[in-house]
Amino acid sequence: MATTSERESEIFCLPVLQQRHVGLSCVWGLGKQLHVYQTQTPPRIVAEKKHITDIPKVDNQEIFDVQWNAEMHDVSRKLVNETHNIFVMLQGQVKSLSDTTLYKQLRKASKQYRAVLKACSLELMQIADLCEDEAHKLKYEQYIQEFEMVQLIWSLCEIIFIDIHPGGLILTPLLDWLRWHFQEGKQKAMEVSQAEQPCSHAHYWESIYRLLLQGSVDNVRKLLALHIHSSSDPFTSVDELLSKMPQWTYQRAQSVAEYEMKWRHWREECIRRYEAGEFAAYTQLETIVQILCGDDAVFREMKDHCETWYHLLVSKLFYQNPTVRLTDLTFDIKPCQAVYSLPSENFPELDNILQAALEFDIHQVIKESCSFLSSRSWWFVSHLADVLHHCGQLDPQKLPFGSNLREYLLLEYATALMSHKSLWQVGVDYLDFCPVFGRAYLESYIEHIPLDSEGKAHKILHLCQERDFTAQAQSICKVMGMRCLQQERLGSALSWFLKSKDAIVIKQVTDRFLTEYCEQGKFSHLDLIDHLGPSMLITNSLTFLGKYREFHSLYNSGDISAASSLLLSLISSRLAPKTFWMTMLMDVLPLLELSQVVLDVQKTYEVMYCLEELQRDSTDNYKNLADSELDKLQCLRKALAKNLSRAIIEEGSVKLVS
C-alpha cells in the first residue's frame, strides 16, 4: 500500500540487476521520454583515475525507452479535444465580456467541463465492461476511479468557489452533490421496490436510511409506503413528519430566517413525537426519527451508510443545522473525520483535497491536486485553475517562477500535450493563452517538433507565420532544405532554402545546380528556376542561375540579340563561379557562327578578356582542363578572332556611311 510520501516520488523499476560499479544513467528525449541505460559508476573517466578495475562486463546491454503521460487512451483524447473547445471559447469571452455576463459564462463552462468528464467516464465504463483482458480492464478501472474522483472534487469546488448563491444555503447544493456522487442508496431502493415483498428485502431499511441521509424525503416516503404495515399509526406518523419537513426553495419567497424558524418548529414536533414513544414498536422508525431530530449518536451508527466523512458531514449538518454557512463548515469536519478512525484507506489525498475545499482554501486544493492527480494528467488542475482564476478566486500575484498559478498549471498541461504525436496542436492553443511564458515555450517546442513529412513542416511553418516566429520559420526551412540536400533532392532543397532566405545555403544549392548543368548539359527543376521572381536577388549565384536560365529561354525562342546581350552581361558581371566560365564561353560559340554578326567589337573584346583571364588563372580550374576542353577553347579563340574581324568591317562600314 502506497503511503503519501511514496506517492510523491514515484518509483519505477527496470528489469536489470543492480551490480556494483554499474548504475543507471539517462538522457531526456522529447517531452516525457527518457532513455535509460546502464553505465559504469563511477564513470570510466573517474574510475581510471581511482584505479577501479573490477568493473563487471555487461553483455547484451540494453537501452530503455521509458515514457509516461503517453497513455493518452482514446477516451482521454476525447476529453482533451472537447474541453479544448470549451477552453478556447472561454478565453475569448474573458477578453470580450463584462463581469456579470462573464460570470455566467464561467459557471456554464464549469458545468460543460463536468459534462464532458461525465460523458468520458461513462464511455470508459462501457469500454471496461466489454474489455476481456484483465490487465487492461484493471487499467481502465483505475482511469474510471480517477475520473470519478476528479468529478467529485470539481463539483464540490463548483459549489464552493464558482457557482455561489449569495444568501443561499450551502447545504442544498451539497446535498445535490451527495446524491450525484453517492448513488448506492438510489440503486438499492430500486432493487428493493422491484422485489416481490419489498419490506422483507435485506436492503429495505438500509436504502431508506441512505436516501434519508441524502435528504431525499420523497423517495423515503415512497419506500415506507411499500411496507406491509404502512397504514399503521407509527408509519403514518413518520410519513406525516416527512411530508411536513420544511423545504428550502431558491425562490425569493422566503428568507433564511423564516426557513430556520419553520425548521425549528418542525424539529420540535419530531422530538415531541419521538419522546412520546410513537415509534417504539419499530426500532427502524425510531432510527429514522432520530435522524430527523439530528441526534448525534444516531449519525455515528450511520457511518457505514455514509461511507465517508464528507457524506456524514453534510448529512449531519442538514438535520442539525440546515442553515449553516460555508465558513462554519470547518468546525464540523474534525468530529466527522473522527468517526472514521482511519482515513479512507485508498486515497488519503482525496480526503485532504475535499477538506481543503470545505475549508475554503483553494490554494491548498490546487496544491494537493497537483501532487496527487497530476502524476497522470494535468488536465484537471489546469482547467479548474483557469476557471477559478477568471472567477477571481485565485491569487493573481506573481509566483517565484515568474508568473501566476494559472499559467504554471496551463504550461504543465500544454507541455504534456506537446509531447504527444497528434495532440500537440491542441497544446499550441493552450500556450497561446499563457501571457508570460507561452511564446517562449512555443518557440522552443516548434524547434523540437519532429518534421516527419513535408506536410507537417508546412503546417508548423504556417503556425510560425501566424505568430510571427521569424527565426523558427527560417530554421524549419533550413532543416528541411538540408534534409533534401542530403537526399540529393536539389529542387526541393532550393525551394526550402529560398523560404529561409539564407544566402549561404542558397549559394550552396545553386552551385550544385550549375555543376549539374556542366556535367549533364541540362537543368532539372526548370519550373522552379523560371519562377524565382524577386527571391533571385538573395544571392549572386542565384541571380546568375536565374539569368543564365533566362538566356537559354531567349536563345531557344530565337531572340538572338537579347540572348547574346544577356550572356555578355553575365560574362562581364563575373557573377558566375569560375568553374562555370568555361560553359558560358562555350555558349558564345554558336553565336559567333551565325551568318550575321551578333557580337560587336566591344563585346568581342569582352569575351576575349574573359577567355584570357580564365587561361591565365593559375587555379586548378584551368590546369585541370582536359585536352578536349583546351581544343574547344582554341576553337573559341579562332571564332572570336574571326568575329572580331567581321565586326570591325561591319562597324567600319557603318563609320564610312556616316
Binding site: 519505477f12 528489469p15 540487476l17 543492480q18 531526456w28 547484451n60 507541455t415 515555450y441 524547434e447 550552396q508
Partner: protein, 357 residues
C-alpha cells in the same frame, strides 16, 4: 511510466553517453568499445541502428548532435586526446528502418589537446556552428566551422586555460544573453577552490572571460548543465558533484549593459541541493523546457526533479534496477553471494543471466 521499447545496444562495453538529436527521432550512443552507433526511430519499427563505426582509438566519452540546420552532424570526444566531427552522407530515407547502414564521414579531427578530451558541446544555434571542448589539462577550446557547408575546415577561435582539470562543460542556450559557458572540474583537491566556473564572451574585447566562480562547490564536479531558458529572467545551472545542486544565476547588471563592454554580474543562489544519491552524482540532464531535471549517481538510480509553483525542487520519480525482475530473480538464486564478493559473484551472475535470457 512504462518501457516503450527495450533497445539492444550491441555495444561491446558499457555505454558512456547517449544523445538525442533536436527532434528526438535520432539517437547516438558511444562506449568504451570505441564505437559510436546511430539509431533512428520510426513508428513502424521503433528504434533501429542505422550506423555503427569505430570513431576513436580510446574510450569515447561523449557524443553530441549539431543542430539539423547544419545537416546531420555529430561530434565526439575521447580518451585518445582528440575530438572529431562526423557527417552523414546522403541517406535514402526509404531504406531507413530496414537495417541499412548509413555512412558517416569524419570531417575533421581536432587534435589540439595534449590530454584526454572530456567533453564536447555544440554552441546554441544562434551562435552559428561552433564547438567547445574541454580537456583534462584544464583548457577550453572553441572551434568554428569556417564554411557551414564544408565541415572539414574548423578554426580554433579561442582557447583559455581554467587551471583546473576539466570534466564537463555546458553552453547557456539563452538567446538574450552573450555567449556563456560553464565548466566543471573533477580536481579532487578541495583547497583548489570553486569547481564550477562561468565564462562569458566579451563582444568588445573579443575574448572569453571568467565572470564567476561558484565557490559553494568545492568537491569534484562530474557534470554541469544549463537549463534551457524559456523566458525566465534568470538562468538555472545543475551541478553534479557530491550532491546535486541547482543554482539560479540572475544577471544584476541592467539589461542592455551587455553591449557596453562590461561583463555580466550574477547573483548566484542555490535553489536546490540534494544528497539523495547517497554519495556522488555523475550526470544531469534537463528536459527541453528546463522544468524537470534528471540525475544519476552512485546509488545506481536515476532521479527526476521538478519545481512546484513555489519553486521548491522535489524528487518526483526514481528509476532503479529491479532486483525483483523475473530473470534477475533467477540470477540471484543462482548467485546468492554476489553482493558480498563482487568480482566472483558478478561473473556468476552474468552467466546465469545469459542462460536465463
Amino acid at each position: 511510466m512504462f518501457v516503450a521499447q527495450t533497445i539492444k545496444s550491441e555495444h561491446k562495453d558499457l555505454i558512456h553517453d547517449v544523445s538525442f538529436d533536436y527532434h528526438g527521432r535520432r539517437m547516438a550512443t558511444c562506449s568504451s568499445d570505441q564505437t559510436v552507433k546511430v539509431w533512428d526511430f520510426d513508428e513502424a519499427n521503433g528504434w533501429q541502428c542505422t550506423a555503427s563505426w569505430k570513431t576513436h582509438t580510446g574510450s569515447v566519452w561523449r557524443v553530441t548532435w549539431a543542430h539539423p540546420e547544419f545537416g546531420q552532424v555529430l561530434a565526439t570526444c575521447s580518451f585518445d586526446r582528440t575530438a572529431a566531427v562526423w557527417e552523414e552522407l546522403s541517406s535514402d530515407s526509404s531504406v531507413r528502418g530496414g537495417r541499412s547502414t548509413n555512412t558517416w564521414l569524419k570531417r575533421t579531427s581536432l587534435v589540439d589537446s595534449r590530454t584526454s578530451v572530456t567533453d564536447v558541446r555544440f554552441a546554441p544555434k544562434h551562435l552559428g556552428l561552433q564547438l567547445a571542448t574541454c580537456s583534462a589539462d584544464g583548457v577550453v577550446r572553441i572551434y568554428e566551422a569556417v564554411d557551414v557547408m564544408n565541415l572539414s575546415n574548423w578554426q580554433l577561435q579561442f582557447e583559455f586555460n581554467c587551471n583546473l582539470s576539466l570534466s564537463c562543460l555546458s553552453w547557456n542556450t539563452a538567446r538574450m544573453h552573450p555567449p556563456m559557458i560553464a565548466v566543471g572540474s573533477d580536481d579532487p583537491n578541495q583547497s583548489a577552490g570553486g569547481k564550477v566556473q562561468i565564462y562569458e564572451y566579451n563582444e568588445t574585447s573579443h575574448k572569453w572571460q571568467k565572470v564567476e566562480t561558484i565557490f559553494m562547490v568545492t568537491e569534484p564536479v562530474h557534470d554541469v548543465r544549463f537549463a534551457p531558458n524559456l523566458g525566465r529572467s534568470y538562468h538555472l545551472l545543475a551541478v553534479a558533484s557530491r550532491d546535486l545542486t541547482i543554482f539560479s544565476l540572475k544577471n544584476i547588471r541592467k539589461e542592455g549593459a551587455n553591449n557596453s563592454g562590461g561583463l555580466s554580474k550574477f547573483e548566484i543562489r542555490q535553489v536546490g541541493g540534494f544528497d539523495d544519491h547517497e554519495s556522488l552524482v555523475w550526470r544531469v540532464s534537463w528536459n527541453i523546457t528546463g522544468t524537470i531535471l534528471a540525475s544519476s549517481g552512485d546509488d545506481g538510480c536515476v532521479r527526476l526533479w521538478k519545481a512546484n509553483y513555489l519553486d521548491n525542487w522535489k524528487c518526483i520519480s526514481v528509476l532503479k534496477a529491479d532486483s525483483n525482475a523475473s530473470e534477475a530473480e533467477r540470477a540471484v538464486i543462482h548467485a546468492p553471494s554476489f553482493s558480498n564478493t563482487p568480482t566472483l559473484g558478478s561473473v556468476r551472475y552474468n552467466n546465469s543471466y545469459s542462460n536465463a535470457s
